[in-house]
Subunit: 333 residues, 2 copies
Amino acid sequence: MKIVIIGCSGHYGYALDGISFNNKYTIVGISPGVEEENIDKIYEKVRKDHQEVRVYKDYLRMIEELNPEIAVVNTYCTKNEEIVINLLQRDIHLFIEKPLTTSMDSLCKIKDAYSKSKSHLCSMMGIRYHAAFLTAYQIVKEGGIGKVKLINAQKSYKLGQRGNFYEKRDYYGGILQWVGIHGIDWIYYFSGQEFSSVYGRSSELIEKDGNEIEMSGVCQFELTNGVYATLVTDFYRPETANSHDDDRLRVVGTKGIIEVRDNQVFVMSNDREGSQEIHLLEEKNIFEDFLESIEGNKTCFVSSAEVFEVTKASIYAKESADHNKIMFWNEVN
Amino acid sequence: MKIVIIGCSGHYGYALDGISFNNKYTIVGISPGVEEENIDKIYEKVRKDHQEVRVYKDYLRMIEELNPEIAVVNTYCTKNEEIVINLLQRDIHLFIEKPLTTSMDSLCKIKDAYSKSKSHLCSMMGIRYHAAFLTAYQIVKEGGIGKVKLINAQKSYKLGQRGNFYEKRDYYGGILQWVGIHGIDWIYYFSGQEFSSVYGRSSELIEKDGNEIEMSGVCQFELTNGVYATLVTDFYRPETANSHDDDRLRVVGTKGIIEVRDNQVFVMSNDREGSQEIHLLEEKNIFEDFLESIEGNKTCFVSSAEVFEVTKASIYAKESADHNKIMFWNEVN
């Protein structure tokens, strides 16, 4: 099966890792998604295992000439709507960087195109497949903490050096959409509930090395059945810290509390004494899962319905922050 | 100096501990604040060191007959306004359980009475004096993490057996006012900023052993100078956990991040390698500090102005939750 890669501004690495042990798939083409993207580096990487890979300037010409089954898209968010609709109209399966898009108008158009397409669609929510998150989710799903009532999510990153992609907030969606969306995803699938409302705040845009950065953002969600959730995001993690990110999740249930911290999982519950560290399941690869779902062997852990809803929640969070008001699901849309 | 205790529904223990090494102070009287309070147990405790202590049914008769300099008040919140105003009018110094009161109307009356009184007033924000919180605050105050930009506070408690005091939510103010107020206090004094807005949510009241309990609550605060804060509270801590409470605080600054967790303090900053555990300062007693401030040797770490503002923030948080709307400081009052 033929795969193309459009853009190089995100986590295309998931795809390279996911097909590295499977010679059924060949990367046949690479193009930038927008002019500003320099694809030299990704080309060098891909060429090692896919000598025949061709480079295009224009993604549309690439898909028309190469006729791929699958596209990996990770470019400026502002370009996603056009690319996604073009791919969906051609029934090309789509593995795309989050956020899928940055406005409700655009999300509606994409959902409409998806409903008329045969494409499978998955977004790069790769953290779901990390060992600690897989392990915690299994325990919650099996009822190990009872009914979920409260979730607290944290995404703290080093700012480091950010590329052109951050030159405009719209290119990446701002801190709540680019960073926070993972936390929003955790809140959504760990709770098993639907979103009711969100109130988000994000810090003012500062100029840093020519980029537009929001250094911090917070959100508070209400979900169905009286579930509440908080999300904190920031780029303040010191450069001296021992990892790039400090991802944390705390899920509080009627029978116990589970936490993911430092890639470890801790559980307290009425059945256990004190706080216990849990042996981790094995890490998986999101792209491999997506490929298997296309082949029909299984459903993808990250469903298209979830991608659409989590994207919507991230857009609402950002719009809430921008207009300083609560966004209610039953009022809009 | 003569001290009386009114009520027994809260942390009068701070006062007993605080005067245990100082024979300048004598507890001369104890009364319930409301009829429902049974003061037998506190009487037995107090009598050991203060043999002359007298028991009254009516707090007003007690203060009129005994003429104390200081009153320790911890009774049903619904009774506080009346008691506090009676004490302030007599210039009796006041060490009172939080929340000071549960409505803005009542808070205004208390502030008015305070402005005409010679009394000192302090609320039972005793967690400020715990070793880990003292240590963390000293580091933040000395600039160890730069300018504070983001704060996340957690108060997770075992539900355990709650007394009559919880029979009606109004008696204790609900989870955001009774439990959450400590986190609101941390947010206020660690940030060094003023509150701008709060959006709070709290879970539905459930009946549990004849009491009205909100099992969880969350708040999101905005403060001046672009500081955001989240607060989570719950009564879901399993009974098997190794402590009653799981107090946590994370303060994110422009140069580092400090955390209080498990009564320990951890700091990351650009000046340090990785996350470092900090040697703790010695724990102090809030009532001792209050007594010293009355004697004029120093100002109390918990000022009356802070008590009023934190009480207001807790009332706003509750009202926000009750009406499902953001409360803005510049719109109301």
